[in-house]
Amino acid sequence: MSCCGKSDKSSCCSGEKPSAFGEPSPLDTARRWFLKSAAAFTTVALAPGVTLMAFAGAAPASASPGRGPVTAKERWGLLIDVAKCADDCSACVSACSKEHGWKETGHPLTDPQWIRKVTVSGKGATASLPVMCQHCASPPCVDVCPTGASFKRADGIVLVDKHLCIGCRYCVMACPYKARSFVHEPLEDQLAHAPRGKGTVESCTLCVHRVDEGRKPACVEACAATGHGAMVFGDLNDPESAISKRIAQFPTHQLRADLGCDPGVRYGTGS
């Protein structure tokens, strides 16, 4: 139908092809008329949806509680102000642990890796910053997943569907940010909003359960509570959102931007 919708200039649609005998036969004409009408009808039928989207654009950036399926209108992202992130502070990490119920198992090599503080140094300067799932627009973890368990929601949040995850850990290998980890031990008394289980891969969910309620991720709240205010959460698609304004105003970077994954988590200094 989409091909017929643009059929005035293209000849991809059989309705526009001349008949085998040169001039269009009455039957061809009738069919062309029908197809043109059908295309027009489709446009009309689509119009309410378009209007709806236009109106929806004026709504507040935060999601309202109990709403239906998420759309690509939003793209949720994080901005981390490295200058404000304190070396000795790990409030975001503890908040994440508390929010999702993960804790260190005593085996550092296989511990959960939802979010961690990293110290980077170079050119005579050091900086401390949190690294978590970067919620890429083109996530390698999704590309490699053999079962479709690793997926990107319409609003840009990259998740693991643990119902489908077979624990192959291909995504753990593929992620350039080492953002994913594997649950090795059986768990019990998980939190109702954060199901986790042995044999599946897990990572930062951008607190999807909070975002769907119109709240901010736990790390962002904790960072603000410490007074550092180094993390900003918001809609990257909305030019009026706080995060978009900051990104427009100050230079920001994506980690390993050269890989072309287009992360939704941005790092910057100054504000």
Binding site: R67, A192, D212
Partner: protein, 166 residues
């Protein structure tokens, strides 16, 4: 010949009589059994799952009994992939409403045979994988629906524990 016929006739009558008697007994038995709870009905015990909070479930009980697994599976996809949290067939809601309290006053986990899912699933020999990831009991206090176990049990347990201390 006549002796054989007599013996045969006697046997037939005797067996017939026996059958009739057992049929009557069975009939009597049935009327008696009807007066006891369905949990021990006849020779086949049936599961009696704990009732949830409130008057009714999100759908009629008979319908839920047959379709809860399909609805959970359907809603898990819409919730996880589409982010649609408006559905009413949520495993979280099942656990919050149907949770069974043990004698210690806390809701029991799926490791306990009294767990509301296990009551039927053990009976039907159908394993459930949900609780390998999902919480099998509400962690918030006061969320469990029914106290399973009697207060006498609790009192006996307290007496026993006090006895240990002496």
């Amino acid at each position: 010949m006549s002796v054989r016929s007599t013996i045969l006739a006697f046997l037939v009558l005797a067996i017939g009589g026996l059958l009739t008697t057992s049929a009557l007994r069975a009939g009597d038995g049935t009327t008696v059994v009807e007066t006891v709870p369905p949990a021990v009905s006849g020779s086949t015990p049936v599961p009696v799952p704990a009732k949830g909070k409130g008057d009714q479930c999100v759908a009629p009980t008979d319908w839920m009994r047959r379709n809860h697994m399909t609805m959970l599976k359907h809603q898990r996809n819409t919730t996880v992939h589409d982010g649609d949290r408006t559905g009413r067939f949520s495993i979280k809601a099942c656990v919050e409403c149907h949770a069974v309290k043990g004698v210690d006053g806390k809701a029991v986990t799926v490791a306990d045979p009294r767990h509301f899912c296990r009551t039927c699933h053990d009976y039907a020999a159908v394993s459930i994988d949900c609780f390998e990831c999902h919480a099998s009991r509400p962690l918030e206090p006061g969320k469990a629906a029914r106290l399973q176990g009697k207060s006498e049990d609790m009192a006996a347990l307290t007496r026993y524990l006090e006895g240990l201390g002496k």
